[in-house]
């Protein structure tokens, strides 16, 4: 692509970057990931151990983040919940974007019959109400972390496919693609070398958004009773459970909501920065 892209923006932006805008989100995500990975070894209480008498206790020295509706240690549940939410949040969109992205690229590039067929497949998937799909999945295969992740992953295929197809359509007509074709570049080469790099920024931006959406969507499934089965904690599920005691024990909903908020915020901020760094047009300069 022409190297004359609006470069004035990037250096100016880099120059104005405030360190804490990177440091804080990075620190937060690092803490969350570290805790999620090491949950078993950092001396946490059993996230499923309940002491009903101690339910809904506010944060204290004994329970740093208080206890939930069933008297379980919130700190432990938040950290084990981080593990669940991160697994779902990373894996589901990754699955969807791998498959959906490829489908969308092929459809947008080859057009004609291939497009017709692939878009048809995506349309079927898309037109099928997400709710029915998720319900069928969990009702038929059973509720488990794997099935919930898979269901959310399948649900993100069409969105990824449409974004990648729409962008491929737009890029496929560009002069540099036509030029590559006229000099006899193979389809594979054009797809991977010319089109894919241009797809990555919008796809990556969308993937970050999708990740947050999936973490929240897992909570929505929990609200409908279709999430990760109890007693395994997830942030969304904890919010759904804590919601009914919003007056009596606000911390049971607000703490997981706050943690989820900070994580989604940090991931997106980091994503923004990462995207600027991996932008192929910029690094090609």
């Amino acid at each position: 692509m022409s190297a004359s892209a609006a470069e004035p923006l990037a250096p100016a932006r880099r120059g104005r970057r405030i360190p804490w805008a990177i440091a804080l989100p990075l620190a937060w995500v690092t803490i969350v990931v570290f805790c999620a990975v090491t949950a078993n070894w950092i001396g946490l209480a059993d996230p499923a151990a309940q002491e009903l008498i101690l339910r809904r206790k506010p944060p204290s020295a004994e329970f740093l983040l208080g206890t939930d509706n069933l008297g379980r240690d919130m700190l432990s549940r938040i950290i084990y919940g981080a593990r669940t939410s991160l697994i779902v949040g990373l894996c589901a969109p990754a699955f969807g974007f791998l498959i959906g992205g490829a489908i969308g690229m092929c459809a947008g590039y080859y057009r004609g019959k291939v497009d017709l067929l692939l878009v048809g497949v995506i349309d079927v998937l898309l037109a099928f109400p997400a709710l029915v799909l998720a319900l069928t999945f969990t009702a038929y295969l059973g509720q488990s972390l794997f099935n919930v992740t898979l269901a959310l992953g399948i649900l993100s295929i069409p969105a990824a496919a449409r974004v990648s197809r729409a962008n491929t359509l737009a890029w496929g007509n560009r002069d540099f693609v036509l030029a590559a074709r006229t000099i006899g570049a193979s389809n594979w080469r054009i797809l991977t070398r010319e089109i894919l790099p241009n797809l990555l920024p919008p796809m990556f931006a969308f993937w970050l958004v999708a990740m947050s959406v999936v973490i929240v969507a897992e909570g929505a499934l929990s609200f409908l009773g279709l999430g990760i089965p109890a007693p395994q904690p997830s942030w969304g599920g904890m919010i759904a459970d804590g919601r009914e005691a919003l007056d009596a024990a606000p911390h049971t909903a607000l703490i997981p909501a706050g943690v989820m908020f900070l994580t989604v915020l940090s991931l997106n901020f980091l994503g923004d920065i990462v995207r600027n760094m991996v932008d192929p047009r910029r690094s090609a300069l």
């Binding site: 499923a48 151990a49 309940q50 009903l52 008498i53 339910r55 509706n69 069933l70 009702a139 059973g142 509720q143 409908l224 009773g225 279709l226 089965p229 109890a230 007693p231 459970d241 919601r243 009914e244 005691a245 919003l246 007056d247 009596a248």
Partner: protein, 511 residues
């Protein structure tokens, strides 16, 4: 102190359940006429043709009792009072019941209410071709017409409880106009015709049902209200917010958080009803390892039923050692309940010798999850691994009835007489005895309860029965059936919440 307050809580709750006329109702004596009452319930209605609906949820009974009525009615203390029937009496051996009907009553479409209408309603339910599931348990052979205002109920055997059973509003007991049904066909389900205090006007699915004052109602003073609207509000918190805002004036509720909040609110009153029946945890006594009595007893002694219910319901839900409840009238001196004793439970399990792992099927709802996790945690303490399997309601019912479960979550519904439910659940040859329980002595006691006319003998039989059931640990009784209605201060005279239904026939609104 914990024990003291628990006891006190129990007694207070009991008193509230039995004497449901709260102090505030006595202050305001003269009913005011007019106004619109909006009631918030939990779920949308199944429809109002009993055969199409099969079962009425408490939300549906709330709506249906606006335009349908029962033959007799129960007052708040459980006494029979006349409604569509002036009286219902049995012959000497209880094989025939005669209902004398109120003259001059008309259905909303103008046709007179006669013995023929009563016979048509019940015979339609009893006809096997119509597959009304409850017919097996109705104990009626058929209903005949003696004269225009006398209906004769021929029973399948001696029966002591018919008048009471037919007095609680429900899918079979609320009398519909079969004539109107035949004329309207499939549309009847959404356009009901009855004799009740309000006339059906409109049902906007999932939104609201509107009923208006019946000007020709047989009880000339009633109803006091001009219009009643019933709205399904599925989200419990949003339902409460609608009440706090004043969009609705009464709501049905069962979440403890909202009840406790309402009790502190000066603008709201809380009405409580502890019915018969119970929340239960059925054990599949046929399948390994629950076919071993020691394992079942260990579970019973490992589950801290009373403390759990006490904490989770914030002291609102009492737990009994039988599934009868205060409104059944049955009081057992000795029920043979096993105590909470985790140490003995562990010994029994050690005696059994093999590791025990169980799957508990629950509904994928906050209620189901809560119960499942509490059960799981208690079992873990005595060394039993419980896996929770959340499924939706339909699937739970299907799997349980098919005996494809180990432990489940269930409810024995609030019924004025315990025979129907106990017989269905524990009689060895009952098609829905899904625990697979088979005990000749229990069968004998159930037959006594069903056929004996002497209330004392019947109640003793049920006490003897519960002793056996508690020792064998077929089902665990995890809490009473308790229903709450929260209403704004200007709402008066809502009767006892039998079966969880809110009835508006005698309700009125003060300014």
């Amino acid at each position: 102190m914990g024990v003291m307050s628990r006891r006190f809580g129990l007694v207070a709750a009991l008193a509230a359940g039995l004497a449901t006329v709260p102090a505030w109702a006595q202050q305001a004596a003269a009913p005011v006429k007019g106004g619109t009452l909006t009631i918030g319930v939990e779920s949308d209605f199944e429809g109002f043709d009993p055969i199409k609906a099969g079962v009425y949820s408490n939300s549906t009974v709330t709506a249906a009792s606006l335009f349908y009525e029962t033959l007799m009615r129960l007052d708040d203390k459980g006494n029979l009072i006349p409604a569509l029937a002036l009286s219902m009496n049995a012959n000497e051996d209880g094989t025939i019941w005669i209902a004398k009907l109120r003259p001059g009553v008309k259905f909303h479409d103008g046709t007179p209410f006669t013995a023929q209408a009563v016979a048509d309603h019940f015979n339609r339910l009893l006809d096997p071709a119509n597959r009304y599931a409850g017919r097996v348990y109705l104990a009626i052979e058929k209903v005949e017409v003696q004269d225009e205002l006398t209906a004769v109920f021929k029973m399948r055997g001696p029966n002591a409880a018919l008048a009471k059973v037919l007095a609680q509003p429900g899918v079979a007991t609320l009398i519909i106009s079969v004539k109107a049904l035949n004329e309207k066909g499939a549309d009847y389900n959404r356009n009901p015709v009855g004799t009740g205090p309000f006339v059906f006007k409109e049902w906007r699915a999932a939104d609201r049902l509107i009923a208006e004052r019946n000007p020709n109602y047989w009880d000339k003073d009633k109803p006091y209200l001009d219009r009643v609207i019933v709205r399904p509000l599925p989200d419990s918190d949003a339902r409460y917010a609608s009440l706090a805002k004043g969009d609705v004036q009464v709501i049905w509720e069962d979440r403890a958080e909202n009840i406790v909040k309402a009790k502190k609110d000066r603008n709201l009153n809380v009405q409580t009803w502890i019915g018969s029946g119970a929340l239960v945890v059925p054990l599949n006594t046929v399948k390994e390892p629950l076919n071993d009595k020691r394992v079942r007893q260990a579970i019973a002694m490992g589950l801290n039923r009373k403390a759990n219910a006490e904490v989770l319901s914030q002291g609102l839900r009492p737990v009994f050692d039988d599934p009868y409840g205060p409104s059944s009238g049955i009081v057992c001196k000795d029920n043979g309940a096993l105590p909470y004793d985790p140490e003995r439970a562990k010994k029994l399990l050690a005696d059994y010798g093999k590791p025990v792992q169980l799957t508990m099927t629950i509904t994928a709802t906050p209620r189901g999850r809560e119960g499942g996790q509490v059960f799981q945690a208690d079992m873990k303490k005595i060394g039993i691994d419980v896996i929770i399997k959340p499924v939706d309601q339909t699937q739970l019912v299907k799997e349980t009835i098919a005996r494809d479960f180990q432990i489940s979550g269930w409810r024995i519904i609030d019924y004025p007489d315990v025979d129907t439910q106990m017989f269905a659940n524990f009689f060895s040859k009952s098609p829905i005895n899904f625990s697979g329980y088979n005990n000749p002595e229990a069968d004998r006691l159930l037959m006594v309860g069903r056929t004996n006319l002497d209330e004392k003998v019947r109640f003793q039989a049920y006490c003897d029965l519960v002793k056996i059931l508690n020792d064998d640990v077929v089902w665990l009784w995890t809490g009473s059936n308790i229903d709450f209605a929260i209403m704004r201060k200007n709402v008066h005279n809502i009767p006892a919440l039998r079966g969880g239904a809110i009835q508006a026939e005698s309700a009125w609104l003060s300014k």
